[in-house]
Amino acid sequence: MAETTRRGSREGRRWPAHLLLTVGAVVTVFPLLWEVLTSLKSFGESTRVPPTILPRHWDWSNYATVFSSIPFAHEFVNTLLMTLLRTAAQLLLCSMAAYAFARIRFPGRGPIFLAFLAVLMVPGELFLLPQYQIMQDLGWLNSLQALVVPGMFSAFGTFLLRQFFMGLPVELEEAARLDGANPFTVYWRVALPLARPGLLALGILTFLWSWNDLMWPLVVNTDPAQMPLSAGLASLQGSHLTDYPVLMAGSLLATLPVIVVFVAMQRHFIQGIAFSGMKG
């Protein structure tokens, strides 16, 4: 009883903190909320002075207009494929390499790992021109491959998972090794299932980065039907469409999947950020 009273009073003394945090949260969420509200107003109502807060007339037609303004369904599928294929490939390829770096001794391991680390240090823009050149030479401009292939490889992911594998106890793998399993089997059957939290963190981060990736798609896929949503919306905003409610409806539809994934998996997500941030 005394315990609960004490806890209660402590909670009571937390109100200034709650006040500050709530004010901050309102300021943070307001733009997104305003986006939702504006997307439900008619164009005329959205430009009204003084503004209406809630739509007087809930206008869902903006969402329908999105589909006639850009090839939304196409771009959605492009985004989904780009994101899923990149993520799946990174999980497989990074974890394979990471396992080798963590558990197999072979000549050249150190220098090769340093080369991976070097990639990690370089700003992304330095890769862009030659990558574009490669896509052009392969005839891959305006294709799904262009969106997916360079994003399948990640030095960051390899590094993250190597750290993860190194933190795993080695005994189970040893037992499998003594049973005559080859390194790939040990990796696939024993180590990979144990590394699930690391894989989940990398998977979620890659999902987010890929879904929102803008510069690379802008460079390689200029045909609207081949763009992902990030680039499609950027060009929609750039076109002469100044119908903000429609732009906001489209933006919200495009960003909704990531928000859903984030809210559903936020523990892993935040763990991934904290983990990669702290150790990266």
Binding site: E11, R14, A17, L21, A25, T28, P31, L32, T38, V49, L93, A97, A100, I104, R105, F106, I112, F116, V119, P123, E125, L126, F127, P130, I134, M152, F153, S154, L160, Q163, F164, M166, G167, R177, N182, P183, F184, V186, L208, L214, L218, L229, S230, A234, S235, Q237, G238, S239, M248, S251, T255, V258, I259, F262, V263, Q266, I270, A274, F275, M278
Partner: protein
């Protein structure tokens, strides 16, 4: 739902009891880290990721460096021009302008870190409830697609009907066209930059706070240190490595800012740039993008990003040098 910051990965926990250290045993432990000795398996497992990285990342760095010493012909041929692109760079007012803009953006976004720290400290208070909800809300801007961020902020900043100016007019202030006025564009863009990064930095700092052992506070409080004193003599020093790391990361990312500014300034118009404050907001990476992919001056574009890379390396090195003065590694 606390953040798991156990050093599971970076610092492998000793797997063998630390008792009875001896050379033979230490060697055995080291050997044990490598479970397998079969080098061909090693190469095979590394090959797919390694080749991909070599082709799409490592070699391109070399190529970009090479491009920066060349002129790019209309049909793809290159001619060696030595330092010519770099000479253009140092005399190009647009480059210096974009560098200045980027520097201002970077500094302004850094000002968000104390804000993130305040939020993290509040969330880390003992007995705080609802921390999960706050964390989710503050993190939402981080995961929102930049296009969705840009469109709503452009609307909020709109000079005629934007809600910011409408609110200001209530108190008798006549607001400007925030993102197309050279006097306000830096500030307007940086506010969005801070808005988008506060939650991210907060998570990093919160993880740092949670890794401070509770004993330190207990000891300090036994020594009679009050709340404020505890913050300055326990929290701040022990958090300083995380603050340092967050700062370094923030600088690196801000110097490369592209998406957000590009979209807010409306650089993506097919009809050319119509924003009168465009050059007052343009960042280095935007200039690179423009030169390399629109103006077909790839050699010059390559020189711009090479210069940026050197700048990032130099600034990071300086920060590491300066950390001795203020970062405490306990």
């Amino acid at each position: 739902m606390s953040i798991d910051t156990r050093p599971t990965a970076a610092v492998p926990a000793p797997r063998v009891p630390a008792a009875a250290p001896g050379d033979a045993r230490a060697r055995r432990r080291r050997e044990r880290r490598f479970l397998h000795r079969d080098k061909w398996w090693g190469y095979a497992l590394i090959a797919p990721a390694g080749l991909g990285l070599a082709v799409f990342y490592l070699w391109p760095v070399v190529e970009t460096l090479y491009y920066s010493f060349n002129d790019w012909g209309a049909f793809g041929g290159t001619t060696w021009t030595g330092l010519s692109n770099y000479r253009t760079l140092v005399t190009d007012p647009e480059f210096w302008h974009s560098l200045g803009n980027t520097a201002i953006y970077t500094v302004l976004v850094l000002l968000g870190i104390p804000l993130s720290m305040l939020l993290a400290v509040l969330l880390n208070l003992k007995g705080m409830r609802g921390t999960g909800v706050y964390r989710t809300l503050y993190f939402l801007p981080v995961v929102t697609m930049p296009a969705a961020v840009a469109v709503v902020w452009r609307w909020l900043y709109n000079g005629d009907v934007g809600i910011i100016n409408q609110a200001l007019s209530v108190v008798g202030v006549h607001g400007t066209y925030w993102v197309s006025d050279p006097a306000t564009v830096h500030f307007a863009v940086a506010v969005v930059g801070v808005w988008m990064t506060v939650g991210y930095n907060m998570i990093l700092l919160l993880a740092g706070l949670q890794s401070i052992p509770q004993d330190y506070y207990e000891a300090a409080s036994l020594d009679g240190a009050g709340r404020v004193r505890q913050f300055f003599s326990v929290t701040l020093p022990l958090l300083s490595p995380t603050v340092f790391f967050t700062t370094v990361l923030s600088v690196i990312q801000s110097l490369q800012v592209f998406d957000l500014v590009y979209l807010i300034l409306g650089a993506n118009t097919g009809a050319g740039i119509t924003n009168p404050a465009y050059t007052d907001g343009e960042t280095v990476v935007m200039l690179f993008f423009q030169k390399a992919f629109y103006d077909n001056q790839r050699g010059y574009g390559a020189a711009i990003v090479c210069a940026l890379f050197v700048l990032i390396l130099a600034l990071t090195a300086v920060q590491f040098r300066l950390q001795k003065r203020w970062v405490h590694y306990g």
